[in-house]
């Protein structure tokens, strides 16, 4: 599904990602953990096509196709979805209208007709129910005045509506209470299939109890320094990152 080879990226001439290799197969869930400032969100932004970051070296392929030169919207049309660590507040645009616009713009780009209004409504109801989102909430301005947890839940609602091939969840668990965490994780699991993949960025093992990863990677100073199975996350939770830093030093 996603193939990243020797990816380097910089912002304002400052190197942040320094050679990342990552392969995620269809149907898989991978987790990325790592200390603050190690480059996790930067990696997510680069995959999603944020123009603030320059990809200076390497390959970025989705289903075998080079997406590194595509605009963010084109990547979205190819099935990339990023759940933002800090979702942006957009006063004046309601959640419903935003989601409708996003879906129809994507369909237009894919040469499809707009989604019929009744189908759209049904889908909105279904996905809102899945994420236990109140209907009133959907007529509010996008993210404006939402609590931290509401913002994250709204991100996953959008993901559920857009049904992406590759979903990147950047610290979606932060800000969620225990019940919300379960609901959101359940929402993500419902969307999993053999045809899509999920990249979970998190600091905590807790989320991975619900969304069980096939692989866990540790990102430090712009590089993946260790990969393992889900037990690696448990070990990190218990021991922190120091032992990995030691390993890297001695290697």
């Amino acid at each position: 599904m996603l193939q990243i080879e020797n990816l380097h990226a910089s912002v304002e001439d400052k190197d942040i990602l320094k050679g990342i290799d990552l392969q995620i197969g269809a149907g898989e869930v991978h987790a990325i953990m790592g200390p603050n400032g190690s480059g996790k969100s930067t990696l997510a932004s680069v995959i999603a096509g944020n123009e603030d970051y320059e990809m200076t070296e390497g390959n970025l392929l989705l289903e075998g196709e080079d997406i590194s030169e595509l605009d963010p919207e084109e990547r979205a049309h190819h099935g990339v979805f990023l759940s933002f660590q800090y979702p942006v507040e957009i006063p004046g645009v309601s959640v419903t209208n935003f989601v409708k616009t996003a879906i129809n713009e994507t369909r237009k780009a894919q040469g499809m007709e707009e989604m019929p209004a009744a189908e759209m409504l049904k889908k909105i109801r279904e996905k809102a129910a899945l994420l236990e989102i109140d209907r009133k909430f959907l007529s509010r301005s996008l993210n404006e005045g939402f609590s931290g947890g509401e913002k994250k839940r709204n991100e996953i609602f959008q993901m559920a509506m857009l049904e992406p091939k590759l979903a990147i969840l950047d610290e979606t668990d932060s800000g969620l209470d225990i019940d919300a965490l379960r609901i959101v994780a359940n929402g993500v699991n419902k969307l999993r299939s053999e045809n899509n993949a999920v990249l979970v960025i998190t600091h905590y093992q807790r989320l991975l109890d619900y969304i069980v990863p096939d692989k866990v990677h540790v990102l430090m100073d712009g590089k993946i320094v260790k990969s393992g199975d889900k037990d690696l996350a448990l070990k990190l939770e218990e021991k922190g990152y120091d032992w990995i830093k030691e390993e890297v030093k001695t290697a």
Binding site: A76, F81, P91, G92
Partner: protein, 437 residues
């Protein structure tokens, strides 16, 4: 000959055709003297510092068109709110068009100023209101001197007018260059309600200079919604002076949508003469190329316990120039005033400029006055957020501009007008999106 000289000699010829005994004749004479003494304002006048008129005044304007022109409804239908039933007062090249108009005298008067000026039965109203709100600055004086035609609207007490009233001035372009000076007089009686839409529209790309003056009187508890739709062609300029006198407990709201024209100057003046008045001034300006839009507002709080709300949004592309001069005056006796002023601007291009100057003159000590002004670009993070959801760059830009302007549109009370404005914004931004806000 300069335009000033031409206007003065035209006035002399025009005066010969007038009834010198008419009750407004002295007002006219005083007004032309005023204009003769002061002439057109220049950039030396503080109030016109950012809006130079000199280039615009160079065209050889015809002041009184030689022939009257007719228009077919089907060719201008798009400029009317054609999907709702409305009263209409329509002028073509400054001359009343009975064919396009729908006036009334049933319970209310929606007709022509020229007939109100000439008929005895309107005399008390003319005497009580004509030129009683307008200022004596040179531009307004010029209009007053030539005041001849425009809309006359009189709503008696307790009357709720169901149908909106449209005042439309068309210019056909039959003259190489034309100057028009409409004069509207609107009196809304105690507890009466009315909705009015005003539009100036040229149908050809000829220089048009409109110097329009509107006087509005809101009696006790009157409720007025006034909408100005300014989406003219690139050769048309408009100086629009509106004077609103409010008696106690009245509520007046003026929305100004400025999307087109060469140069637009809006002088919007509110005078709160009784307690518990509520005044709202809102505007959306979206301009590009070398367009110039100036909003000069005045809210004069002359009585205690009143409110005013100003909210102007502007989006400027290319070398467009915006001006916002917002003046709030609070007299000493006007305690417990709540005056709010907000002016937010987005510059799309780095050649676009905005000159914003709030002016507060407060002589009362127990007042709440707030004003805020922002100038910025579209939020890059928001843009990326929208694009990452599959919304194209242009559409995402448009969506953010809509969102930016939305709270001004929110208070438009006529749904068809709101749709129309949404449509104009979409056209202006050059996208059609399948959403409504």
């Amino acid at each position: 000959m300069s335009l000033k000289d031409k206007l003065i000699s035209s006035y002399m010829a025009y005066e010969d055709s007038l009834d010198q005994e008419h009750l407004i004749h002295d007002i006219r004479s005083a007004a032309i003297k005023n204009f003769e003494n002061t002439g057109f304002p220049t950039r030396k006048h503080e109030a016109w510092k950012y809006t130079p008129l000199d280039k615009m005044l160079k065209a050889d304007y015809t002041v009184f068109p030689k022939k009257s022109n007719t228009l077919e409804y089907k060719n201008v239908k798009q400029y009317f709110l054609h999907d709702v039933d409305t009263y209409k007062v329509v002028f073509v090249d400054g001359v009343y068009s009975s064919f396009l108009s729908e006036t009334t005298h049933e319970g209310i008067d929606v007709c022509l100023l020229s007939s109100a000026l000439s008929k005895d039965k309107y005399r008390p109203v003319i005497e009580a209101y004509f030129n009683k709100a307008a200022e004596t600055d040179s531009i307004t004086s010029l209009n007053t001197a030539f005041a001849k035609e425009g809309a006359y609207i009189f709503i008696p007490a307790h009357k709720e007018v169901e149908k909106p009233i449209e005042i439309i001035n068309f210019a056909t372009g039959s003259e190489a260059a034309l100057m028009i000076q409409p004069r509207n007089l609107i009196v809304v009686g105690e507890n009466a309600h009315v909705q009015i839409i005003e539009r100036h529209q040229s149908l050809a790309e000829h220089p048009i200079l409109t110097n329009s003056v509107t006087e509005i009187f809101a009696e006790k508890r009157a409720y007025i919604d006034y909408y100005k739709v300014q989406n003219d062609v690139e050769t048309a300029s408009l100086i629009d002076s509106t004077y609103i006198k409010q008696e106690r407990d009245s509520n007046c709201r003026v929305h100004t949508f400025s999307f087109g024209g060469k140069l637009i100057r809006n002088n919007l003046n509110f005078y709160q003469q009784g307690q518990h008045c509520d005044s709202t001034l809102k505007g959306v300006t979206i301009i590009e190329k070398k367009q110039h839009v100036d909003h000069s507002t005045l809210v004069h709080h002359q009585s205690p316990n009143c409110e005013s709300h100003q909210d102007y949004k502007g989006i400027y592309d290319d070398s467009a120039v915006g001006v916002f001069n917002g003046k709030v005056m609070v007299d000493k006796i006007a305690q417990k005033i709540d005056a709010f002023q907000q002016n937010n601007n987005i510059l799309i291009s780095d050649k676009a400029t905005i000159n914003a100057k709030p002016q507060l003159e407060i002589f009362a000590d127990d007042v709440k006055c707030s004003h805020g002004c922002t100038i910025g670009q579209l939020d890059e993070d928001a843009l990326f957020y929208l694009r990452s959801r599959g919304i194209g760059k242009k559409e995402a830009n448009a969506l953010l501009m809509y969102a930016f302007a939305n709270n001004v549109l929110e208070s438009v009370k006529i749904p068809e007008l709101k749709n129309r404005i949404n449509g104009l914004i979409a056209d202006k931004i050059g996208v059609q999106l399948g959403f409504d806000l």
